[in-house]
């Protein structure tokens, strides 16, 4: 009930540009990480996965912001959880399909985002047609959130494992997503942490004077923290130095964007004061 105005959300960066940033950034993070790790036969480049997760998460947060500005105040968490629910199914399906069919693992993320987009479109159509939510951009936003959720999931998996290999019988490598992410239970952090990158920013900044840059900075900042914690998880999977790289870069992103968020809060707030009484009747007029 406590929502921003029921209409399209404005903002400096267009929806298409954020989507391009999310898809290209997310995929670049995943592929840079796995390809560079493969070429150098190390795990030093796993942190690129975390950066990809942040970019895809920002895209997802922007999509949540656009769809939720149509009056979905208390529906913000539900949208985020639906997105990651779709994302996790599609991500595991895409990566596992490469193992089952014996096709190159680099195709995994592409298959996953196609599946996520299809599920997202079905969910969006159901919400609009069957539940009669009648939000004009519902289908598009559900596709965007699902694909962004899927990319965040895969990127965070890659941050922990440093590889896209789902099971080890293909390339006979020791570290796989199944052994390092799913069996260890770290998938729990990826699922809920990825959801928070996508759905916390708009929830945190909800209100009639919400602004796109401030909301998306929260997304980057929260992505930085989740990246650092996935770095901690990767300490038991990959070497200590690559894991520390992920932790340090994640913490740096968090500090930089937290400061930026504070500055924008000072810009947008009515008044930032140390302490004081409530505004007087005259002041409220």
């Amino acid at each position: 009930m406590s929502t921003a105005a029921g209409g399209p959300a404005g903002g400096g960066i267009s929806a298409t540009n954020v989507a391009i940033l999310g898809i290209v950034g997310g995929l670049a993070g995943i592929y840079l990480s796995t390809i560079l790790n493969g070429i150098t036969e190390t795990t030093y480049f796993s942190f690129f996965g975390g950066i990809g997760a942040i970019l895809a998460g920002v895209w997802g947060a922007d999509a949540v912001r656009r769809v939720c500005s149509y009056g979905l105040g208390t529906g913000v968490p539900s949208i985020g959880m639906v997105a990651l629910g779709m994302g996790i199914v599609a991500a595991i399906f895409g990566l596992a399909l490469c193992y089952v069919l014996g096709i190159p693992v680099v195709l995994g993320p592409i298959i996953a985002i196609v599946v996520a987009a299809i599920i997202g479109f079905i969910m969006g159509t159901m919400a609009n047609k069957i539940l009669s939510m009648n939000i004009p951009i519902m289908e598009r936003c559900m596709v965007e959130i699902a694909v962004a959720g899927c990319l965040v999931m895969i990127a965070l998996c890659v941050t922990i494992s440093g590889t896209l290999v789902f099971e080890n019988s293909i390339l006979n490598t020791d570290i796989t997503i199944l052994s390092s992410v799913i069996q260890t239970g770290f998938i729990a952090l990826i699922f809920i942490g990825g959801a928070m990158i996508i759905l916390h920013p708009f929830n945190a900044c909800l209100g009639p004077d919400e602004s796109q840059d401030r909301t998306l900075y929260v997304g980057v900042e929260k992505g930085g923290i989740i990246m650092a914690i996935t770095g901690v998880a990767s300490l038991v999977v990959i070497d200590v130095i690559p894991a520390m790289l992920t932790i340090v870069i994640g913490l740096l992103i968090w500090i930089i964007y937290f400061k930026k968020f504070i500055n924008l809060t000072k810009r947008d707030a009515y008044k930032v004061i140390g302490t004081g009484l409530l505004p007087t009747e005259e002041e409220l007029q």
């Binding site: 406590s2 913000v76 998938i187 959801a195 928070m196 300490l235 947008d268 140390g274 409530l278």
Partner: protein
Amino acid sequence: MTDPIIIDMGIVALTGALATIGGAAEDLESDVGSQSNPNSQVQLAAQMDFPHRIFNKAISGEPPAYGLWCASSAVVASVMLAKGMSVLFALAVGSLVGAILLGMFAVTAHMGRTASQSRFKQPLYMDMVVGHVPAIIAHGYIAVFCIVSFSYIMNAIMGHPFPLPLLALFWGVTAGAIGSSTGDVHYGAEREFQNQPFGCGLNASYSGNIVRKGEAGLRNGMDNVWACAKFGGPVTGLALGLTVFLDNWRSTIFTGANAEWFAIIAGLIIVVILILLNRYVEVDGRNAYGPYKEEEEGGAPA
């Protein structure tokens, strides 16, 4: 020699006790920050020309939020355990990370929401951020430590097949859901509207008109947690404690007796008994108090 079932029942009791403390702390943490049920009215207050000094924090739904704190704590604890550190140390440090994470989310949630209400002239008081966030972290630490601890006991001692982070996620979500639906109602329905006659319900015209002044000075999250600690917090603890205890009790006692199927039947019986008890309490409450009668009470609305 002690019968193994006695040791097992002691462990079950320990998980129940941890869940009771954790549940209470979970609800009180959300009361400090006005999360979940009470939040919509706190958010609405400024928009209805009632600026306030109550901490406004909505992270993204209490269950997923608690899932995140508990899963992160469990991940850090698992890593430390895998590196050979002691259990208590790993759980304590893991919970600290989870609690600090909660604090960081609370800061962005409060500052972001307040800044998004600038047209209603709601100021952002920095002393509130500095004063409330440590209390949120402290309550959150107790809650997360308890939840991750009984998740660890289930995983390591009771032999649950799921890994620790996954168990902690599930129990975190459960704790958040119970806190959100049980204890927060005490704050949202009663404490926020103490200026209205008891039991009058929330008329739409009172929306956002929450109590903003305390016994001395302006009311804040600390005053609210003080009030909610008398009923909302303990009752949440009881609900989570009973959930964990009854669940573990039935699986432990029937698995110990090699009668696993009876555990499922016992679970169904417990659910039926709880539904009947809930129905009895509801009907009894309606019969005892009935619908609110404004004129018979003789009290004019505030």
